[in-house]
């Protein structure tokens, strides 16, 4: 990666000076404002105050990206990748999945994905990938400008699709692609699999070093891992507060505030962020504030969010006294925190990154869902049958049937897509949700 002093100058001026100041001022303004006009304060608690900080962090992240090329090495990374190595090497790290989710939430994913579809990419491939490839081909994005990658870093622990997707990116960007292949854990993690992942991580270092133009500082790596672990621990605690009745935050809050743990894992500000969030959540518990004002039934959400319907679904359910308080999806970035061991970076990264819920068998996932239902005292589960996410969705038919049959837990299979609103049938979804909610009462 060629460093350009002019790019660095632009970076410092636009990000560190202007950007930081502007975003700080924006946060100050937002912290003093009440909830937005459209907020349903009759059925929902006001939005978390930490939201201003979330917005600042994420905006700054994308602002940095806008000016990163030429100043820092840039890597495009999958959401489950062992990003600590890249953080320690000073990479700017971009998550196409997160960008895709942002496009979905801002309701521009169809426009951007259509660019990919017009170039021949089938609508049967993952909607995140279509959004990302569409953004790459057209340059369209709601965040200003995405930096070009110097390195691509894909880990198959969330799906095999990323392997195919990142090969397309490699074809277009013509930069090195590092694949960390994490063997699927059908029953329990095996030593030869962990060894394999460890070797791949070790062998990834020289490639990442070469692109970055510097050597990995192992002390820095340990520090990054320490921050990673601390943030993941705090995030886990935030989610576990959902066990309270009423739950102080809902999964819809979690979907929004998970961005730092995914995108900025390993940075000190992420630790501070979740510490502050935990504090605010605890204050809510003290005051007896529930995310849903009239919480009468509590649900589990399985699979990815429906990004373009977050507010609508949250309000629809809250109107009916239903709070969704736990999710297997957000839990994935917290539950493995105890496995991260900064003293044994490569070994613990291998062990941690091979075990997220998406890389573990369908039976284990059912056990986890059942455990969450018990611990969070849940009345039912919504399983989002996401047509874009086969590894998460395959198994749901059996999981749903067994929740109902073996554990007496009402469960709904809701067919949709996490990022493509064209795959969401409004009337049909409502009919199903209504029938399901009736079963809860």
């Amino acid at each position: 990666m060629k460093r350009d002093w002019r790019a660095s100058l632009r970076y410092y001026w636009n990000v560190k000076v202007l950007g930081n100041a502007y975003l700080r001022w924006q946060r100050w303004k937002m912290e003093r404002k009440g909830p937005p006009r459209k907020w349903r304060t009759d059925i929902l608690a006001p939005p978390l105050k930490i939201g201003a900080r979330t917005k600042e962090l994420i905006s700054r992240h994308y602002l940095e990206g806008r000016y990163a090329n030429g100043h820092k090495p840039v890597a495009w990374v999958t959401s489950g990748a062992p990003v600590e190595i890249l953080q320690a090497l000073g990479y700017y790290v971009l998550y196409p999945e997160n960008h895709g989710a942002l496009c979905g939430a801002r309701k521009v994913s169809v426009e951007i994905a259509s660019e990919a579809e017009n170039a021949g990419y089938s609508r049967d491939i993952c909607s995140y990938a279509r959004t990302d490839i569409g953004a790459m081909l057209s340059g369209k994005t709601p965040v200003g400008k995405l930096p070009k990658p110097d390195l691509l870093f894909a880990c198959t622990n969330i799906c095999q699709t990323v392997l195919f997707w990142y090969r397309v990116l490699a074809e277009h960007f013509k930069v090195p692609l590092i694949v960390i292949d994490t063997p699927f854990v059908y029953t329990s993690p095996e030593e030869h699999s962990i060894e394999y992942v460890k070797k791949q991580l070790e062998n990834a270092v020289p490639i990442a070093e070469e692109v970055a133009g510097k050597k990995l500082d192992y002390k820095k790596l340990k520090q990054v891992m320490r921050y990673s672990r601390m943030a993941a621990d705090l995030w886990l605690q935030v989610m576990e507060r959902g066990k309270n009745r009423p739950a102080p935050i809902s999964v819809f809050d979690q979907f929004i505030h998970m961005a730092p743990i995914v995108e900025m894992r390993g940075k000190p500000e992420t630790v501070d962020f979740y510490a502050a969030m935990l504090k605010e959540v605890d204050e809510r518990i003290e005051k007896g504030i529930g995310a849903v004002r009239n919480e009468q039934r509590r649900l589990l959400w399985d699979n990815l969010p429906i990004w373009y319907k977050l507010r609508e679904l949250s309000e629809y359910l809250a109107e009916r006294g239903v709070a969704v308080v736990a999710s297997t999806y957000t839990m994935a970035w917290g539950e493995l925190a105890p496995l991260i061991d900064p003293e044994k970076p490569f070994e613990s990264m291998a062990r941690t990154y091979i075990q997220p819920i998406l890389n573990v068998g369908t039976g284990k996932k059912l056990e986890k869902m059942k455990k969450m239902i018990e611990e969070f005292q849940l009345d039912g589960a919504i399983l989002h049958s996401d047509r874009s996410c086969k590894p998460y969705s395959i198994g749901q038919v059996d999981q749903r049937n067994r929740l109902i049959r073996d554990y007496g837990v009402p469960a709904l299979l809701l067919e949709a897509d996490h990022n493509d609103p064209r795959a969401y049938a409004e009337e049909q979804a409502r009919a199903r949700l209504d029938a399901f909610i009736e079963m809860l009462y």
Binding site: R422, A425, E426
Partner: protein, 261 residues
């Protein structure tokens, strides 16, 4: 009128067409009927009618195209409707370009080369939502006459976007809108827009080579043509006898084949 030197038969899913050309390849005779399940009988009747009006047809080459082409035993050769449409339109208009054909059951985009040959093509042949069927279904539900749909759609200033891609879901969406008091005309406009956008996406996927041409049953719908022009920024040319382009191309191929001998 010249003597018929070659015959083309296009057995589509909704209509069956027959065209006769003279030895110069000029379009001199044609006939159309709704498609009959007993294809061979229908073709026999067509040929009899042609004989009655034009004289005996023994030894005249016949090429068949369209959905039911394999059942036309009277034909010496069968060629796909893609190749036939391309040749027919090319001969009719005198140039190549991008041809859009929106039929009852499928839609096609064909890039026609400088000699009327097919350079590239794309078909939407699996999903009703990109075809005339999409409009037909909804016309039925909204109790609007199919041949009035286009005018009604254009008569509205307002346009209500339809977000569902699937015909079935779109129906639900539309019913829900009507129930909420939305007027029929803006909905129709949105419906046409939806169809056209899908077709234009297909055009983009093969790459638009001007000029843009339109054929197929849907040609009679003024909203489709106008919207294609809006979405692509290109003027749309339509050949005469747009429904007969397939049969015409087939006749030309028959003529070509007989000349080679």
């Amino acid at each position: 009128m010249g003597k018929i030197a070659a015959i083309g038969i296009d057995v589509g899913s909704t209509t069956a067409k027959i065209v006769g050309v003279d030895e110069k390849g000029e379009f001199i005779w044609s006939y159309i009927e709704p498609a009959h399940p007993r294809v061979e009988d229908q073709v026999d009747r067509f040929l009899k009618k042609l004989e009655e009006e034009n004289g005996p047809i023994d030894g005249i080459p016949i090429v068949a195209t369209g959905y039911g082409r394999n059942l036309v035993h009277q034909a010496t050769r069968k060629v796909t409707e893609i190749t036939c449409h391309a040749l027919g339109v090319f001969r009719q208009l005198g140039h190549g370009g991008t041809l859009i054909d929106i039929g009852g059951q499928d839609s096609k985009v064909i890039i026609i080369g400088p000699s009327g040959e097919v350079v590239d093509f794309a078909m939407n042949d699996k999903c009703a939502a990109g075809t005339g069927r999409f409009l037909e279904n909804t016309a039925g539900r909204l109790m609007v006459k199919l041949d009035e749909m286009g005018q009604l759609a254009l008569s509205s200033e307002e346009e209500v976007p339809i977000s569902s891609t699937c015909t079935v879901f779109a129906e639900s969406e539309i019913i829900s809108m009507i129930a909420h008091g939305v007027r029929v005309e803006p909905i129709l406009k949105g419906l046409h827009r939806s169809l056209v956008k899908r077709v234009v996406a297909m055009v983009r996927s093969v790459g638009l080579v001007p000029p843009l041409m339109l054929s197929g049953g849907v040609v009679k719908n003024p909203a489709i043509r106008k919207m294609i022009e809006e979405e692509t920024g290109q003027k749309v040319i339509m050949p005469d006898h747009p429904q007969f382009m397939g049969a015409y191309g087939a006749a030309l191929i028959a003529l070509r084949g007989s000349r080679r001998k």
